[in-house]
């Protein structure tokens, strides 16, 4: 049995305050999310937190401006690709360390291909892993939300 969602997600919010404020806030939420991802190895935060914030900004867009507007920026196809790309980056960096002769996710082995010194190699390695985690978490969050919002039915 197909359960249709009771809320029509293609509808825009009709509250001028909510619409305008989310319009002004969404770019800053997104840049904040990317900041959290990119500075995860210096300060609190990291891939998961940043990815969730990034996903939340897209979910806010769906709630206020409707599903169509959000899908114009982030299609379901691109979302699925990003979902697997994030996992691929994470696992790829981990396996690269194994191939170079270390343990899984042992970033110091990346020095052999980057030539930047062991400390810098560790920093870059963890940054790459965080970017992968961020992309995957964002895509999965949006994917879960879209599945619930559309009642699991594919978009025509």
């Amino acid at each position: 049995m197909i359960i249709k969602s009771t809320v029509d997600m293609t509808r825009q919010s009709d509250d001028v305050i909510v619409k305008t404020l989310s319009r002004l806030l969404i770019p800053f939420i997104q840049i904040y999310a990317l900041y959290v991802i990119a500075h995860g190895h210096y300060s609190p935060g990291g891939g998961f937190q940043g990815g969730v914030i990034l996903g939340a900004s897209l979910i806010l867009l769906v709630i206020t401006y409707g599903l169509d507007n959000a899908l114009r920026r982030m299609t379901e196809r691109l979302n699925t690709i990003l979902c697997s790309l994030g996992v691929f980056i994470y696992a790829g960096i981990g396996l690269l360390c194994v191939i170079l002769g270390g343990n899984y996710l042992d970033y110091k082995e990346l020095d052999q291909i980057l030539h930047v010194g062991i400390a810098q190699a560790r920093s870059l390695g963890i940054l790459g892993v965080e970017v992968g985690v961020g992309i995957a978490v964002m895509a999965v969050m949006v994917s879960i939300f879209l599945d619930i919002a559309t009642g699991g039915l594919p978009k025509k």
Partner: protein, 237 residues
């Protein structure tokens, strides 16, 4: 007998002549119509190209201004000013500007951004003063032994037009203690006021006037507005 045949033949030839003339006229008409249609199509295509170019230009301006704003925000957050972190910042700002360049500046008007920012900065201290005054008033309401509270919902039609000015007014009302914007529907504000005094203060419309002044709306015409409009008129000519 022969005369009749001759007359018939003449009639027939006239009929054929007439028919062929009609057909020729039809063909000519069709050709003319097709030509004019082709011309209209051509003109429409040129117009579309021009419109597309204008749209692209507007998009680029929106992209650049969004990028600059976001880069400032990034530098404020980051605190690491080496080449590596700034280049990551440029990448991230470019990405976000690409995704949401039409959100931040959804409907800007020509060349009035600087004036709006200047007037908004002047507006903030006045709002602070209002907040302090209503704070004292609400404190008096709460501490006074007699019951002075008289809550009600007032509604008024606003003369503001754009969404951003309505939001500024609604949030200013909510920020001021004693009044809360419940809803804004089609320019009508529904405001909950805690006492008669704050309701009357609101109904004088001073706050609305000031917000209209910031965003250059309603019956507020200023020299700066006319100066801003001048290039548009030149373009129209």
């Amino acid at each position: 007998m022969e005369v009749t045949i001759l007359v018939q033949a003449a009639d027939e030839s006239f009929r054929i002549l007439e028919e062929s003339r009609n057909r020729a006229r039809q063909v000519l008409d069709t050709a003319a119509r097709l030509t004019s249609e082709a011309q209209i199509l051509q003109r429409k295509r040129v117009e579309a190209i021009f419109k597309g170019a204008k749209q692209t230009k507007a998009d680029v301006i929106k992209f650049i201004s969004t990028f600059i704003l976001l880069m400032g925000f990034w530098l404020l957050l980051s605190g690491h000013y080496d080449l590596f972190h700034i280049s990551i910042g440029v990448l991230c700002c470019g990405l976000v500007s690409h995704i949401s360049h039409n959100l931040l500046f959804a409907n800007p008007r020509a060349g009035d951004m600087r004036v709006i920012v200047k007037r908004f900065i002047v507006y903030v201290p006045w709002l602070m003063y209002q907040i302090i005054m209503s704070n004292l008033h609400v404190a008096r309401l709460a501490l006074w032994p007699k019951k002075l509270i008289d809550p009600k919902i007032i509604e008024f039609k606003s003369k503001l037009e754009s969404d951003i000015s309505m939001v500024t007014l609604a949030n200013s009302i909510t920020l001021t203690p004693g009044t809360i914007t419940v809803d804004v529907k089609d320019g009508v504000f529904y405001v909950h006021a805690v006492s008669k005094k704050v309701a009357e203060d609101l109904m004088t419309g001073e706050m609305e006037d000031r917000v209209a002044h910031i965003f250059m709306e309603a019956d507020h015409v200023y020299v700066q507005d006319i100066l801003d409009m001048a290039p548009i008129f030149v373009e129209l000519k």
